[in-house]
């Protein structure tokens, strides 16, 4: 099968949807003339012109709100944040305007909009450029939150997000744009809210999503060398969460580790852990353990970063712990 980059998969999804529906447009900082801060939108200005691909001023609150209004009046905006770290400036429009509009208006106004861009750490960028916002947005009813880990998933899920009638937060990573993966020619969509078992196994379940999936899969590879078969689940969507797939796996393996880059308090991993103990208590042979970032702002210092973020080593330790192995 054809192999393309993560950024190309996202671009293909946007291009296909923009060709299909003239109401879809892309708006964000540097998306047009500069061809995207991370070259995701490369070539799109040339194909669609400035009335479909808008360079914005550095005014996240303004253009996020503009997107909400455009969505309420018949269009399907894709709003790109250079990273979700900058979406904090716009968070009122995402939470108060887009997510609550349908409920507050008693079902009269929906907001079909996609807010997309990278989340999480991306090397030595310092604390302001390194936060994970998956759990922040997942906390808000009215939003859907998609965090894919492969080019294939990214393309199918982004197309579904653009066609969705409600606001979708679509999260990528600067560290994944160069990743390559198999993506078939031709159109396909993937359903929002369905997890994917990326590796089958019977001894332990490792659940993760987004960039941290790499850690989960690498750890599973290592474990296989020791004869431990880990089942690795990629949530792909963190709101809604596909609990059924997770529970089914845990009921089979009886052991579970969750790997997530966000800080630990009120994270996706804490929510998952709650659901697993609540619904699979009798199946568990060990308490669920999670591997998150340390509970501190991410430092610029390389050794500190190494010591803060989840990694394969900490994941292996967690697995050994739930398996009661030394």
């Amino acid at each position: 099968m054809r192999v393309i980059q993560f950024r190309e998969a996202i671009r293909e999804a946007m291009n296909e949807e923009m060709r299909r529906d003239e109401n879809v447009f892309l708006m964000g900082e540097e998306v047009a003339e500069y061809n995207g801060a991370y070259k995701v939108s490369q070539g799109m200005l040339d194909e669609f012109g400035p009335n479909r691909v808008y360079d914005t001023p550095i005014a996240e609150l303004g253009f996020a709100g503009l997107g909400v209004g455009a969505g309420m009046n018949g269009l399907r905006p894709i709003i790109e944040f250079m990273t979700f770290n900058f979406s904090l400036v716009a968070i009122d429009q995402i939470i108060n305007s887009s997510a609550k509009m349908l409920a507050m208006s008693g079902g009269q106004y929906s907001v079909p909009i996609v807010f997309r861009g990278p989340t999480g750490s991306a090397g030595q960028l310092g604390a302001t450029h390194s936060s994970n916002f998956e759990n922040w947005f997942a906390n808000t009813p009215g939003l859907k939150v998609v965090v894919p880990s492969t080019p294939y998933d990214a393309k199918g899920l982004l197309k579904a997000s653009i066609r969705d009638n409600d606001p979708v937060i679509f999260m990528e990573s600067e560290m994944m744009y160069n990743d390559k993966g198999e993506v078939p020619e031709g159109e396909y969509l993937l359903p929002i809210g369905v997890a994917d078992i990326k590796r089958k196994g019977k001894d332990v379940t490792i659940i993760s999503f987004g960039k941290a999936m790499k850690i989960a899969l690498e750890a599973a590879e290592e474990l296989a060398k020791d004869g431990i078969e880990a089942e690795v689940i990629d949530l792909r969507t963190v709101r809604p969460i596909d609990y059924a797939t997770c529970l089914e796996s845990v009921k089979k393996t009886n052991r579970c580790v969750v790997v997530e880059e966000a800080n630990p308090l009120a994270a996706i991993s804490s929510e998952l852990t709650y659901h697993i103990q609540r619904n699979a208590f009798d199946y568990l042979d060990a308490p669920v353990i999670r591997v998150n970032s340390m509970d501190i702002p991410l430092s610029f210092s390389a050794p500190y970063i190494e010591a803060t973020l989840p990694n394969v080593k900490r994941t292996l330790e967690a697995v050994k712990q739930v398996m009661y192995k030394k």
């Binding site: 503009l66 009046n73 305007s97 009269q108």
Partner: protein, 329 residues
């Protein structure tokens, strides 16, 4: 600016009487709302529009049914001027499912898709960029549609105001920004929140045509808005209209009004737009005393009907609690 003379020639009795009816309806609806609030029938925050009626009525008469309207949490007047049912608004404030937002929005979140009324927006200034986005959508879809956005002078101190103005001018979209300068943001007088008191000057920074008008004078508001709307339809560009006005009542129902002098309020009440317009209609022989009495009786009846409608309303069933969080397929 004052150019009511030109307008008066075009104001026929029917229209004049309708506008008078709208202003009176808003006034009495608001007074009654305050009463219902005191009785505990209406809960939550309640911001009344008493004193500012000429702005909503004068601006909205210039719009067509195809145009969009966004307002603030002080929006009952705009909703009524737009022709929304008084009963639906009152029921909404009661939290009843017969309300215009099914009782899910309350006083600050009135919506009516059938009249292109987009709130009821209770985060100060959040609807300005939304209005620009709606206008951008009209432009892209080649609709003959203006988006009209009401907000207070307090909102004009938000960064979002400036972002919205810049985006509207940059992308040349048909939006009418209407600043209702009622001199106070809660208890903060304009001179304590704005370095430049002539709010209309802020439009110039973005190359947006801007005008200030006496917001207590219905004819002046109408005239200025007609011109503004005409300009927007011709050029497709944004316009900034500042209506200088005053609220006679407190900011919300939780406000002892310690920040302003009673004499100041009394002074402004002399400029009350309703008696002023009534005098004008009588003088121009656009209305008779009998007709005035008829309108007054009609308004009283409609306000009472609104209360009755709200009282008779029902709560949405608990089974529907989780509805409308996401769209139905």
């Amino acid at each position: 600016m004052s150019s009511s003379s030109k307008k008066s020639k075009t104001l026929d009795p029917e229209k004049g009487q309708h506008l008078f009816y709208q202003m009176l309806l808003i006034r009495r609806f608001e007074d009654k709302s305050a009463e219902q609030y005191t009785k505990g029938k209406i809960r939550g925050f309640l911001h009344l529009y008493v004193g500012e009626e000429a702005v909503a009525v004068g601006v909205i008469q210039a719009l067509t049914e195809e145009d969009n309207i966004l307002s603030t949490y002080r929006e009952h007047g705009h909703a009524l001027a737009r022709g929304m049912e008084p009963g639906g608004i009152m029921a909404e404030m009661y939290g009843k499912q017969e309300g215009c937002s099914r009782g899910r929005g309350g006083s600050m979140h009135l919506f009516d898709a059938s009249r292109r009324f987009f709130g009821g927006n209770a985060i100060v200034c959040s609807h300005l960029p939304m209005a620009v986005g709606m206008a951008l959508a009209s432009k892209k879809q080649k609709k003959n549609q203006i988006t009209c956005c009401f907000f207070g002078e307090g909102a004009a101190a938000e960064g979002e105001f400036h972002e919205a103005m810049n985006l509207a001018a940059l992308w040349e979209v048909p939006v009418l920004f209407v600043c209702e300068n009622n001199q106070y943001a809660m208890g903060t007088a304009i001179q304590y929140s704005h370095a430049v008191l002539e709010i209309e000057k802020k439009g110039a920074a973005y190359g947006i045509e801007s005008t200030a008008v006496n917001g207590m004078d219905l004819m002046a508001v109408m005239d200025a808005t007609d011109k503004a709307v005409d300009k927007i339809r011709k050029t497709g560009k944004p316009y900034f209209l500042v209506c200088n006005t005053y609220r006679f009542r407190s900011h919300s129902m939780f406000d002892a009004e310690l920040y302003r002098d009673k004499k100041e309020v009394e002074e402004w009440k002399k400029a009350d737009p309703i008696p002023a317009f009534q005098d004008y209609l009588l003088k121009q022989k656009l209305i008779t005393k009998t007709e005035l009495e008829k309108i007054s009786a009609r308004v009283d009846k409609e306000v009472q009907e609104a209360i009755d409608f709200a009282e008779a309303g029902t709560w949405e069933p608990l089974e529907d609690l989780t509805k409308f969080v996401y769209s139905e397929k």
